[in-house]
């Protein structure tokens, strides 16, 4: 199948400090890809690079971002801008502040419609209500006249989603869309995103640090650590036969239902600060299996047609992981 998006060996530096190294993954139309990783692992930087929103001092130093086979990094800034909001849309973590406080909901949705669907002001105002209805907001006509501060967090995130939909995107990047919301609202928002995806056929990249969200909502997932993709696979592969010691550590850190635990497991050590100083596996310092050979550059090892991990020990690991 023709890939919708294919990121190849993407490298990004912030003021000469590398923050993304050799990030490679792809996404088919309609697919949901989860990107998991802790803070600072490069999840958001990856998303911003795809959108062309990386700002100074961040700079893409190498790699390709292919969109329908065309390299976005070679596009003039203005052409990339026109793709934003129409072909690819993004929603953010902070629904409380992502809406402009001086405009009503109607004006903000209408702006996207005018920008990307060539509507005039009146048409856009009329169409705005149907988008609010689509994202499950009750009394859409009345809500249109509200200012952002009059809405709850969940409502604002719905409005953000409505604005993202208004450009009819093929790809929606959701950067921690529910982190700032409480649990019941989280579930509603994710159900909504799933339903909209089924309705419109758009692909989605779900960026999160919550493994549960990926398990429930994604088709495939990639695990990022210190600016690298350490493991990639279908959701069942990642959760049932994790191959990379980091992925295994993450899964061990989750509390288990019905199990008596005094102290949750945590991976010893912390994330390395200066990635430029690391030549080999970035996880080696915290890894129970590390050896001298891990200090050299690591490559992805294929475990199945869909699963791969950036770990030298991977063959031994698979056997052990299955046995576990």
């Amino acid at each position: 199948m023709q890939q919708l998006l294919s990121v190849q060996n993407l490298e990004v530096s912030f003021a000469k400090r590398p923050v993304l190294r050799q990030v490679t993954f792809s996404l088919a139309p309609g697919e949901t890809l989860g990107i998991v990783g802790e803070s600072g692992s490069g999840k958001s930087v990856t998303a911003l690079s795809i959108m062309g929103l990386l700002s100074w001092p961040g700079r893409i130093t190498d790699g390709k971002v292919l969109w329908h086979g065309e390299d976005l990094l070679q596009l003039p800034a203005d052409s990339h801008r026109q793709l934003r909001g129409s072909s690819m849309a993004m929603i953010f973590q902070e629904p409380m502040t992502c809406l402009n406080p001086v405009y009503t909901v109607e004006q903000q949705i209408a702006e996207v419609l005018m920008l990307h669907q060539g509507m005039n002001k009146r048409q856009a105002s009329e169409a705005a209500a149907s988008y609010l209805e689509q994202v499950g907001i009750a009394e859409p006509k009345a809500r249109l006249r509200n200012f952002p501060h009059e809405l709850s967090g969940g409502m604002r995130q719905r409005v953000m989603i409505a604005m993202a939909l208004a450009g009819k995107p093929e790809l929606l990047i959701a950067d921690e869309p529910t982190t700032a919301l409480d649990v019941t609202v989280q579930a509603q928002i994710l159900d909504l995103l799933k339903r909209l995806q089924a309705d419109t056929g758009m692909a989605m990249i779900l960026i999160t640090h919550d493994l549960g969200l990926v398990a429930e909502n994604a088709d495939r997932g990639i695990v990022m650590y210190a600016g690298e993709v350490v493991e990639e696979g279908t959701v069942s592969e990642l959760f049932e036969t994790p191959a990379h010691p980091y992925t295994q550590g993450l899964l061990r850190s989750l509390p288990r239902w019905g199990e008596q635990q005094d102290l949750l497991y945590s991976i010893p050590g912390t994330v390395p600060r200066d990635l430029g100083a690391i030549a080999g596996c970035a996880f080696a310092d915290r890894c129970p299996l590390s050896s001298v050979a891990c200090r050299e550059q690591q490559v992805m090892h294929m475990l199945s047609p869909s699963q791969a991990a950036r770990c030298r020990m991977v063959n031994a690991q698979v056997k052990e992981g299955v046995a576990r």
């Binding site: 801008r81 953010f92 992502c98 402009n100």
Partner: protein
């Protein structure tokens, strides 16, 4: 917008300021019909006479009717105040937006230019420029307007530096809005509240500046009147004929106060975040 107007009307002091301004503007507009005498008719024998039935606010050193001169002077003072205020606001918005939004060397150049302007006292700058161009209504207006943009530019730049980091600006970039659109539609409207307050203060200070210029003979030229020139004429006779300086002084005070009250009300009414508390 109707809600904005109703909020402004609810602000009692702002309404009072607005009414005073409307009255002053009406006086300026209808001066030819309201003035009891020709403002330039000289009666040297009646110099410095106090208020009477015929001359309600008295007469100046040359015996001219102070009320009539003040009505005509309102035209000069208010229009210099407004136009120079708007001009400097315009220049300030352009300069401040460029500096704050685009940053880098644009910011560096504009802010250094602003600092150069600010190292020279504005009054000296204006006097020097008027001396070169020659004093007239237009030259005073343009020179004052072009010399007082620095305050706006600096305040706006600071506001923009804060606002452009907000997530909604990034969200606007993420749905494909261009830089110009983001600046005009998303950044500037969130920065205007302090500028509106500044405009009202600035208009007031321009009125005072024009008065000072006229006092020194660099501003509005005789026999044309402005509040400042009448006031400065009266200064010399303040102990013997206080009415000459008092009435234009009161007019300047009323105008300045009215502008400030209105600005205060505008700031509250334009801020959607304050509505929440009502």
């Amino acid at each position: 917008m109707p809600s904005f107007l109703s909020r402004l009307v609810q602000h009692r002091l702002a309404t009072a300021g607005g009414i005073v301004l409307i009255v002053l503007i009406a006086m300026a507009l209808f001066a030819p019909w309201l003035a009891p005498h020709d403002p330039e008719a000289v009666h040297p024998e009646a110099g410095l006479h106090g208020p009477s039935w015929e001359y309600p606010l008295g007469q100046d050193p040359l015996g001219r009717c102070i009320l009539s001169r003040m009505l005509y002077g309102a035209r000069v003072s208010l229009s210099v105040g407004f136009l120079a205020g708007v001009l400097s606001l315009g220049v300030g918005i352009v300069m401040g937006s460029l500096a704050g939004y685009f940053g880098g060397w644009v910011d560096l150049v504009i802010m250094r230019l602003a600092e150069v302007f600010m190292t020279v006292p504005q009054f000296l700058l204006v006097i020097a420029a008027v001396a070169i161009v020659g004093p007239s209504f237009t030259s005073v207006l343009v020179i004052i307007g072009l010399s007082s943009w620095t305050g706006y530019a600096r305040v706006l730049r600071g506001e923009i530096l804060g606002i452009k980091q907000k997530p909604f600006v990034e969200a606007a970039r993420a749905y494909g809005a261009s830089d110009l659109r983001i600046l005009a539609r998303h950044v500037l409207p969130n920065c205007l509240a302090p500028l509106i307050v500044m405009v009202t203060l600035n208009v007031a200070s321009v009125i005072l500046l024009e008065s000072s210029l006229s006092f020194l003979g660099f501003g509005i030229q005789e026999p044309q009147a402005s509040w400042g020139s009448i006031l400065s004429q009266g200064r010399a006779f303040f102990q013997t004929a206080p009415h000459v300086a008092t009435f234009p002084g009161l007019a300047i005070m009323a105008a300045v106060l009215a502008f400030n009250l209105l600005g205060d009300g505008l700031r509250d009414a334009l801020d959607p975040k304050l509505v929440e508390g009502e």
